[in-house]
Amino acid sequence: MDTGATTKHQFAMVFDLNKCLGCQTCSIACKTQWTRGNGMDPQWWNIVNTIPGKGTPKNAFDLGGGYKDGKPVAGELPGKAEWGEAWDFEYDNVFFKSGDTEERDYLRPREHDGKPPKWGPNWDEDMGGGEYPHSYFFYLPLVCMNCENPACLEACPRDSIYRRDEDGVILIDEERCHGYRFCVEACPYKRIYFNERRVIAQKCISCFPRLEEGVAPACVRQCPGRVRHVGYLDDPESHISKLVNTWKVALPLRPDFGVKPRVFYVPPSMPLAFNEDDEFDESQSRFPMDEMRKLFGPDVEQALATVESEREKVAAGGQSELMDILISRNWNDMLGPYQQDPGKMVRPLRRGND
């Protein structure tokens, strides 16, 4: 049983990909909470990509990093062209240009050099795979995985990245970081960003200041789809442990990266394939199983079968603990030990308000 036993607790998350609708509320929750600071405009600590797709940055999962046979794998460091800039928009043209309306333009994104962008975060949203009617895709939310075998931590020659003893959350010490970006290369999920202005690396911090107050991360609380479960992997009564260890339906993403991520995914049940007579082929998923196995490992078919079986049990009038967890009728049950409502907390006085 995987307990993340090297720290007191192991903070972990499970994302149910059957429920993610790609609305990006999580991305905006994170952006408004954390990444509006100096040099942070292009950073999307939380992003939701479409799979199949090239991801963020472009070809994110094909850029190396992680481990193979226990040894680090060299990673590539993409540039702005692959990450995408925080675009400028020609607001003046749209909102303030007076006179002949034919001269009004629409809101075009532009890179800082004035040229139209060629790539950006989540650029290939909804493109997916296959040709209609055989098309298939799902949404994949991504945050820092708080890996148990973090490639970023090992890569840093200055020990600027550390793992919290209380919950295994991985953090970058921004005072120590000198912006070498070995960590950016080493992360196989490419979830670490580089702040060009401050010359430091930055990434999802698992909302640790909220965790310390018993408040769940912003992306978790604001998800309208009830996609995200949080809790301690080492607590056998937690949703996390039940989904990962008991029911075994929550799987790591790209286990071949060798980093033992602590964010897990319930793989999405996919529609059936069509046969040459344009009828449903009940023996095949529309999503190619070899692609699904590459994403979630060899246990994905069993995980899908378990979810399918429990779903059918409930459809036939039966009870299922798994379905109760995944449906999450009581939203608070998804929040594990982080039940505190931030809206009910006493806020410190703002300067000027006393």
Partner: protein
Amino acid sequence: MTGTSVNAISSQADLEDILSPDGGVWNDIEGQHIELAPTPLDRQPSAYVQVAWKDRNHGETSALTVQAITHKDTLALRIQWAAAQPKRSIDDINAYADACAVSFSTSGEETDLNTMGCPGNPISAWHWRAGTEAPFSITASGIGTTERSADHQLQARSRWSEGQWQVVFAGPLKSLSFSGAGGIPVAFAVWCGANSERAGLKAHTPGSCQLTIK
């Protein structure tokens, strides 16, 4: 390399002329040619760096020239090296700027410079990076332990011309440990931004030099 001497000559020239990388005062100061070598890859304090760079060259800069002047309480060092493709700033996520540094032993032991100091015997260094407004003042007690601080008494000016970087550092003499009329071990390092050099991936003086005040 041990035995190479850099002599700091006293000058009454205008400080602005000394600070200027193409200041006329430097024409009269003999330059010391110093050979550089890549830092040992197996001493990089990260298995990732050792793996990622095992088939890549680093420490591309093969030599530099250094001149030294003292002016009242100030030590000025002018460092020149060839840089055909200058990287003047960090202008992309995967871009690295050219940089150079001079490190000083605080214990008088030249061996400390090879290891970036050690616990109890730190080194100090002056570090310039292209595109930054002010140089860094650094202390270190071993590889991977550098601490940067702003030092308002330390200045650096730079100029790239005809394939050469010229960088002038000017800092307080009293910040260095000189024992009487003798000198102190110093070492130099250059990072080639076009080759993505940073951290311990640099060209450095494999031994050290002796900086002597004349």
